[in-house]
Symmetry: C2
DNA sequence: TAGATTGTTAATCGATTAACAATC
DNA sequence: TAGATTGTTAATCGATTAACAATC
């Protein structure tokens, strides 16, 4: 494989967490070896796709045998930086922000929300999951955190995003449903729950297949 | 030219909500005509992609002029079924479930959470956003709702999903981070917030470089 | 070795983009 | 008509899948 920074396809990267999760489960079940066939079926992909995905990062398996679970888990964790904890800043302490602050999935994977900001005076000073909510106007610059979660109303989204980016945040998880219009140097993942429901609504009567009958309700 | 029964690419469908949102904003700004170039740039896609996406559903524009905003908005709403309200069942009334029950984005697009279920005795009987939380053991069959949101802990996810599907739910928005293992007749969208953060963590140091010492085992 | 499964290549599939003829 | 922009075709790009040689 090439010496230079090979360009890893984004779909490959997006599947790594899924492989990681499956490996954790296998390890918890004390399984020591897993084949690409088995892991792929757990993750809901084709075995060849799993192997192809891994091939971007090196060699991981033992031919004729499979993959050592513990080893593969460690290496995927290292690739995804999940072998270390990550401090995260959350902006927005409303219903959604509170839920995120308390979300067990984050801490289980090593993400720690260590700073929470809001703008509402009645929230500032209160605590969420052990963290005191501060005034977003007091956001220090530089902040010293690379990961940010945005859970403010859509109207404030762009301004807060800019504030975070100017404070040195490099990656944003955006729940606001707004287009942030960020520079290319910042990575953004948009989670738009309304869009997701709309996509489901489309499929309710959507075109499943040319000749297929839709299931009766 | 195509009827709705044509096989529409999933990426096209996933972009429709974004077009819809942009059109709403244009309409609120009283703009009557929009070109593919302008709308595409608002939505963050190429103009040719926008036109191609639309072409799966018919003709929408006026050559030499552009698209009438109000008309295009109506037609996209109709395609996505956003021209009608949708009743939704929510299972899981914890932190995340509560946030979802109160999420303003849903009602703004016509999604109404009309039933909420949980399993915890201390939650049953309380109300969320005007809806009484009921015991998930009392889930009626059939339930008479097509859209479901799953916000329970991962351990209970599969069982609850099965329950909902057996009660007639046809589409599920899954926040549990579990693989549901649903039949093909049911549409599922997975929102895995932990995966999203992990993808961001990966990008913090950019795509893995093979120049960096990564000795092959 | 014989059997099994990886890592990789090559073929297939599908989506994006550019280009342009149609046409308002 | 002249100018503009759509709808569509054709070219490009990239990702998925199947197949198999390498090899444990």
């Amino acid at each position: 494989m090439s010496e230079r920074r090979d360009k890893i396809p984004e779909p490959t990267i997006a599947r790594l967490p899924s492989y990681f999760r499956c490996l954790v489960e296998l390890q918890e079940a004390d399984q020591e070896i897993v084949s690409s066939e088995e892991l792929a079926s757990l993750a809901g992909v084709k075995a060849s796709q799993f192997r192809k995905d891994l091939s971007h990062f090196g060699e991981f398996g033992i031919q004729g045998l499979g993959y050592p679970v513990a080893d593969l888990l460690d290496r995927i964790a290292a690739i995804m930086q999940l072998d270390q904890d990550h401090d995260v800043v959350l902006v927005g302490a409303g219903n959604l922000g509170s839920a995120l602050a308390n979300f067990p999935g984050f801490s289980r994977w090593g993400f720690r929300i260590v700073r929470i900001y809001d703008q509402a005076p009645d929230k500032i000073g209160r605590r969420l999951h052990g963290v005191t909510i501060r005034d977003v106007a007091d956001l220090p610059c530089p902040l010293g955190l690379k990961l940010g979660i945005l859970a403010v109303p859509p109207s404030g989204a762009r301004a807060v995003a800019k504030l975070l980016i100017d404070s040195g945040v490099e990656a944003l998880l955006n729940f606001t449903g707004s287009n942030l219009g960020h520079p290319d140097s910042v990575v953004v993942r948009n989670v738009d729950m309304t869009h997701e429901l709309a996509i489901l609504a489309y499929h309710l009567t959507g075109p499943l297949s040319l000749d297929e009958e839709r299931p009766a309700r």
